[in-house]
Symmetry: C2
Subunit: 193 residues, 2 copies
């Protein structure tokens, strides 16, 4: 179990930081201390290793949000949406590698031909959108949110928040000081008119 987890951990980091093709099995053996044969004993091939990691990413992120939703206890819809967004920004900093992997193009390209990969990605994105949408719908009922389409608004909000996270990882400009403006924009989208 030890070597297998070491391989998973190192591969998660390397795939996220450097990409799939750019990560070599020999680099993996060097870092983990595991022999080449050991990796292929635990994982059918490189793609299988990648899928195992993607599965971990999906489970980690979704269960983090599931736990957050249970413990947070928001009193109305807009508070929930804002809390979820704040949690999203925090989480993206805590488990950077997992989010970085989802910001790479490779998984989505692989999803075009690999149904397992596609199901993991759909699960993550739909799961996150569901949480956004749930907060919006609750907000519409309790009057704290006023929008036309909850699902579409959830998608726009997600695109905005995820876009900020992504631009933040490319440190072209320091988007860290963007939190207040981001939350203000969210509130405007959710409340006015």
């Amino acid at each position: 179990m030890s070597k297998k987890n070491a391989i998973l951990a190192a591969a998660t980091h390397l795939f996220s930081r450097n990409g799939f093709k750019e990560t070599s099995m020999s680099e993996l053996t060097r870092i983990t201390g595991a022999a080449g044969g050991t990796i292929f004993h635990h994982f059918k091939n490189k793609e299988d290793l990648f899928l195992n990691i993607l599965k971990n990413v999906q489970e980690t992120i979704l269960s983090a949000f599931r736990e957050h939703k249970e413990t947070a206890g928001y009193k109305n819809g807009i508070e929930m949406v804002e809390g979820v967004i704040t949690f999203y920004l925090d989480l993206a900093g805590v488990i950077e590698d997992q989010f970085l992997l989802l910001h790479r193009h490779y998984p989505y390209q692989m999803a075009e031909t690999n149904t397992v990969c596609r199901s993991y990605l759909e699960s993550v994105h739909n799961g996150l959108l569901d949480i956004f949408e749930e907060g919006i719908s609750i907000g519409i009922e309790d009057g704290s949110v006023k929008v036309k389409s909850p699902r579409n608004t959830a998608m726009v909000l997600f695109a905005m928040v995820d876009g900020v996270v992504r631009l933040n990882t490319y440190n072209l400009y320091h988007a860290g000081s963007l939190y207040n403006d981001l939350m203000a924009s969210c509130r405007k989208i959710l409340t006015n008119e």
Copy 2:
């Protein structure tokens, strides 16, 4: 010139669609009909070829916006911002490859060590942000826009619009029908409060 342009065109497509490492020079020779030596006659190495393409992307996108700004003729700030966003969405569909290249992780990774690459990326992003910010600032002066920080608002808006474009290219969900909600969200961010 003919072969050189063929190489540039094919490489733009392959680097965008498949990535840098995933694109082989032999694939490039097969598609263009150019011999291996010919590619390295025109470009010092694979990275140099990539940088030439990135330079083209930067020039193409920025000049497209420059021309758009000259011919559009908006009467106030908010109309300009909305027009620019609409143009951004259109352009992302017209020159898909160029935008896809900027949505890949590889260029930003290369920018960490390559100053030329970094300058191209900074030029594109800063140029686009400048246009967004200009519209916002004009809007503040003419009263059509009400926000605190023009630059930060420009960054949030850009993250949102670019996020939608990116999620659209991964066809996990059909974000094409998001236009109206996206523009409504923009208007809310720019006008209320």
